[in-house]
Amino acid sequence: MSSDRACMLCGIVQSTSEFTRDGCPNCQGIFEEASVSAIECTSPSFEGLVGMCKPTKSWVAKWISVDQYVPGMYAIKVDGRLPAEVVDLLPHYKPRDGTQND
């Protein structure tokens, strides 16, 4: 458990080794575009584990905006901030660390 990290962009939870080996299954393209490593964009501190089985149909997925992503484990809250390079690419980026509420 302690080796798990969550992607700060999409919230997916994987082990550190998975991130280093394969990157983030949802956002790797962006990371590559921003030329940052996947590890930089993940955080070991997250809370609220969601096992997402059917992201397309689940309301939960919609609510935590992972409905576009692959099924898997997601975190509801991910502490930390994305590197500026990534944020610059994404004008509508909404941080997952609970700082923004609407």
């Binding site: 983030c24 393209g29 609220g48 309301w59 939960v60 484990m73 660390d97 609970g98």
Partner: protein, 980 residues
């Protein structure tokens, strides 16, 4: 879609051929009319195509052709179609415009690319149009066509969308995550305010299912895995589980998003730690809260706030945040270092090189500011000086004496930090003053919601326009408190919790609401800067606590719910103690060695339930002592009390008369005497009339009065008995157990145990002799008559039983009796006379005694010579002290009691005033004292330490003993003889 289209197209064809078009409407009319000549051309081409096209629409569309292209083409096709028309129709533009203005604009703009169009056009689309064109004459059909076209368009659009999605999916599968555009597209268009996604009953069905607390995350993982596995194995029949999630703030629950309850049961079947039966549907309006990313009690870290470190040698230490890294994952903290400057380093014996030993939490040095001098002296090699205040030691930076180090935020605790004053003092500025503003800020932030203001609290306003004014809390809510200011008649004003501070004054009694000292209470000594110093009721120490953590209290004795006064607690496996002062956290206990110590709650292992304890001990005379029994010390202060707890070598006793140590003391059971057993105290009714000696005297022998208080084992135990009741009547046996009135008797005759009323047994000396009843047995204190002995002897013990051995003038014991004695005083003879017949004669010797009764003294006086002897002893022993010696006589009067015991023979013994009788002493000898009497016989006398007889083993009797033991006593013996 394809099928529908097929039907459509075939229909069209049919219509085309059969029904003439009549109606004139829709945007295509113009075209169809005007374009005719050209369309004919086309028609021929397309006419061939028609069938093909239809087929294409059926089958080819989705498979062969790139759908996206198709859709593009569709659009292009349409516009181009129209463009083309317009081109063609340009001469007749006006007409068409009238009919359909709508198309004109496009028509004007566009230019001619007929040729391309033919190639590029979606065949289907074209077909549709072309068919139209074909049957332009038939207006009716036109209308239908129009409708069909629209339908077709719609269908096309739909299909193209679906196709696009399919394609996208394919692409996604093929190229996976590599398309960043996709994310961006999603992130950009997909960004919808959550307000628009609020759940409704239809969209979200989430069930909260109970599970074993602490297992939530594992369960989510496990269930997700299970779901994926099920999906694989079940193929098309998948369980409708959409998501599973967990929140740290709701432990013992996981949440499952599934439209049906039954699915959850099926899904969770066989998964341990999850209690499927306990589930409930989460109300829709609570869902957003459940999935809120931030927990309300989270504290946002910012430079200057206080945190605690969760790991390493600084575990639990307070730290100040200096900086936070850009990604919010690391913090630079200011910590008071714990350094040993290499004192504990291991030195490698070979290389003589120091090897830094890694400090562990268990053996960490105390926190102290970095000391460059120490470092320089002890471990120079690792020290680098950056500037005046900045050192690098062992690769870590020390500024101003503080360690500046980067920690990961997951190793920091930011919630509920209650910095202790001494901790803060270490972070104080250089002059040692505590930075109260920072403290209060952090504390307030962390506790704003927790700091409790209650209506009636006096508060001071710390900030704003009303700063400095005081008021009384009227109403409270979570963050705003309405306060009525003193001296203003205005309405109560609302203030933020953080801007208020409670006011206390010296002399107030306060108790601590939270933190380490929670529950402690005491009198306020001083108030300074919002820090209240009070003297704790428990520890008698001064404590300084910030005001908002305190509340006024009425209760002056805060006690822990766990341990109370006089509880017996276990301090270690072998160490038991009694609580003699109970506080909230600190207890004063008296341990089994009699030592008083102060212990914290933590060092108490557990409370011992004394009511369950069956441990018993025995007192000095072998009587049983149980918890709850009343005992008295045999020596010393003769403290009396109830047994709280019995340990093998010590018993805890509580006395209400003693103030010291809450009345608790510890003694060795050997040194106490059981006075009353708890059971008997409850069971027996005290008959006061029997205890009253006046009445007792009139009633005759007070034999019964001594009986009721029975301590320890039952008299009947182990006695040889003969059964007197039916069934086993006449059989001999031994009493093995007594339970209440029932005795279990082991028969001699058969190997059998029977249960008989103990009163229906005759008790025998194991050597035989006469049997006695149970009552008698009890009255004799369990002593059996000696087989060959005259029963007279029995009487002596009775005296003993009263607690006053013969000849004793033990004031405290015989106190009760004294009046009785008085009543007998001098009256002895008659008393005796009244009892046993022979008694008189005995005491006739007695006459001497009688002499005492009347002028008997003279008799004794007559024995002056002896008397002197006695007298002499009197002086010596004080027991005998003249008259008091005769007080002993009163004992003898007691003797009369004996006789009254209904054993006339006793008298005879005495009657044996005859020396031999005394020597017969053997009688007395039974009492051991007998020999004393036997002392009549000088030689015997000496040997036996007659004293025993008289002494009756009671210390107070010793005087007597000496008397008799005294050779001179022998002389007196002669006196006795003389008496006769």
């Amino acid at each position: 879609m394809s099928e529908r289209e097929v039907t459509l197209t075939t229909e069209e064809q049919r219509e085309d051929s059969s029904i003439p078009e009549e109606s004139e409407s829709g945007f295509l009319d113009g075209r169809s009319e005007n374009k005719r000549p050209r369309d004919y051309e086309e028609e021929e081409e397309d006419g061939e195509d028609q069938e093909v096209a239809a087929e294409g629409a059926n089958a080819g569309k989705s498979d062969d052709r790139n759908p996206q292209e198709a859709s593009n083409e569709d659009e292009d096709g349409e516009s181009e179609d129209e463009d083309e028309e317009s081109d063609d129709d340009s001469p007749r533009k006006k007409q068409r415009r009238e009919r359909n203005r709508f198309l004109d604009i496009e028509a004007e703009v566009s230019d001619d690319d007929e040729e391309e169009e033919d190639e590029e056009d979606s065949e289907l689309v074209r077909e549709g149009f072309i068919t139209h064109g074909d049957d332009e004459e038939e207006e009716v059909q036109r209308a239908k066509d129009d409708r069909l076209h629209r339908q077709l368009d719609q269908n096309l659009q739909k299909s193209s969308e679906e196709d696009a999605q399919k394609l996208a999916k394919e692409l996604r599968e093929r190229y996976g995550r590599s398309s960043s555009k996709q994310y961006r597209a999603a992130a950009q268009d997909g960004y919808v305010t959550q307000r628009f996604m609020l759940p409704s009953v239809d969209t979200a069905t989430i069930w909260g299912v109970r599970c074993r607390p602490g297992k939530e995350k594992d369960l989510v993982k496990k269930l997700l895995k299970k779901k994926f596995n099920l999906d694989k194995s079940m193929g098309s029949k998948k369980l409708k589980i959409l998501s599973i999630f967990q929140r740290d703030s709701f432990s013992g629950r996981i949440y499952i998003e599934a439209p049906k309850q039954s699915v959850i049961e099926k899904f969770c079947n066989g998964v341990p730690d999850i209690y499927v039966n306990q589930k409930l549907l989460i109300p829709v309006q609570e869902l957003p809260l459940l999935l809120k990313p931030s927990k309300s009690d989270d504290v946002r870290l910012e430079p200057g706030s206080y945190v605690r470190i969760k790991r390493g040698i600084y575990k639990g230490d307070l730290a100040v945040v200096e900086q936070i890294s850009d990604n919010n994952l690391e913090c630079m903290l200011k910590v008071v270092p714990r350094l040993d400057y290499g004192k504990n380093d291991e030195v490698d014996p070979d290389t003589k090189q120091k090897k830094a030993k890694r400090a562990t939490f268990s053996q960490r040095p105390p926190p102290q500011l970095f000391n460059p001098t120490m470092a320089l002296r002890m471990d120079q090699a690792n020290l680098y000086k950056r500037d005046e205040k900045h050192f690098t030691y062992r690769n870590e930076d020390y500024i101003d004496g503080y360690l500046i180090k980067v920690f990961k935020i997951q190793y920091l605790k930011s919630k509920n930090i209650h910095p202790a004053v001494e901790e803060l003092a270490r972070f104080g500025s250089k002059d040692g003053a505590v930075d109260l503003t920072t403290i209060s800020q952090t504390i307030k932030k962390a506790q704003a919601s927790r700091a409790m203001f209650q209506p009636g609290d006096r508060v001071e306003i710390l900030s704003g326009e009303q700063r400095g004014s005081k008021g009384i809390v009227i109403r409270t809510s979570t963050d705003i408190i309405s306060v009525k200011l003193i001296g203003f008649n205005a309405k109560p004003l609302g203030f933020l919790i953080s801007s208020l501070r409670k006011i206390f004054e010296p002399g107030d009694h306060v108790s601590v609401m939270s933190g380490d000292h929670q529950g402690d209470a005491g009198l306020v000594l001083s108030v300074k800067n919002g820090q209240v110093t009070f003297v704790s009721d428990q520890t008698r120490e001064n404590l300084t606590i910030s005001a908002n953590n305190l509340t006024k209290s009425m209760d002056s004795t805060p006690t822990s719910g766990e341990y109370a006064l006089h509880d017996i607690v276990e301090l270690s496996a072998k160490n038991v103690a009694c609580v003699i002062q109970a506080g909230h956290d600190i207890f004063k206990v008296l341990d089994d060695s009699g030592k008083v110590s102060t212990v914290t709650k933590g060092s108490i292992l557990k409370k011992i339930n004394t009511s369950r304890s069956r441990i018993a001990s025995v007192d000095g005379s072998g009587k049983e002592i149980k918890i709850g029994d009343t005992v008295v010390e045999k020596l010393g202060a003769r403290r009396e009390g109830q047994v709280l707890y019995v340990q093998s070598h010590q018993i805890f006793i509580v006395s209400k008369k003693i103030v010291e140590n809450a009345g608790v003391f510890v003694v060795n059971p050997i040194n106490v005497e059981a006075v009353a057993s708890k059971d008997n105290l409850i069971a027996s009714k005290l008959d006061l009339s029997k205890m009253n000696p006046e009445i007792a005297a009139k009633m005759g022998p007070p034999s019964q009065s001594a009986q009721p208080i029975r301590v320890g084992r039952d008299m009947a135990l182990n006695k040889t008995v003969r059964v007197c009741s039916a069934g086993y009547k006449g059989q001999l046996g031994i009493v093995k157990d007594v339970n209440g009135d029932l005795a279990t008797v082991e028969l001699h005759s058969k190997n059998k145990h029977i249960t008989v009323d103990k009163h229906k047994l005759m008790y025998f000396n194991h050597e035989g002799g006469d049997g006695i009843s149970y009552d008698e047995l009890v009255s004799r204190r369990g002593r059996m008559p000696h087989a060959r002995m005259g029963p007279s002897y029995v009487s002596a013990p009775r005296n003993m039983a009263t607690g006053t051995p013969v000849g004793t003038v033990a004031p405290n014991l015989s106190g009760n009796m004294t009046p009785g004695w008085n009543s007998f005083d001098g009256g002895k003879t008659p008393a005796l006379g009244s009892h046993g017949a022979g008694g008189t004669s005995a005491w006739g010797g007695a006459s001497t005694w009688g002499g005492q009764g009347g002028g008997g003294t003279s008799t004794w006086g007559g024995q002056a010579g002896n008397a002197s002897t006695w007298g002499g002893q009197t002086g010596a022993t004080s027991t005998w002290g003249g008259a008091s010696a005769w007080g002993n006589k009163s004992n003898w009067g007691g003797a009369s009691t004996w006789t009254s015991g209904g054993e006339p023979g006793a008298t005879s013994t005495w009657g044996g005033g005859d020396k031999s009788a005394y020597g017969g002493a053997s009688t007395w000898g039974n009492q051991g004292g007998a020999s004393a009497w036997g002392g009549g016989n000088k030689s015997h006398h000496r040997q036996d330490g007659t004293g025993y007889a008289w002494g009756a083993a009671n210390n107070t009797n010793q005087g007597n003993r000496s008397t008799w033991g005294d050779p001179s006593a022998n002389g007196s013996g002669s006196t006795w003889g003389a008496n006769r």
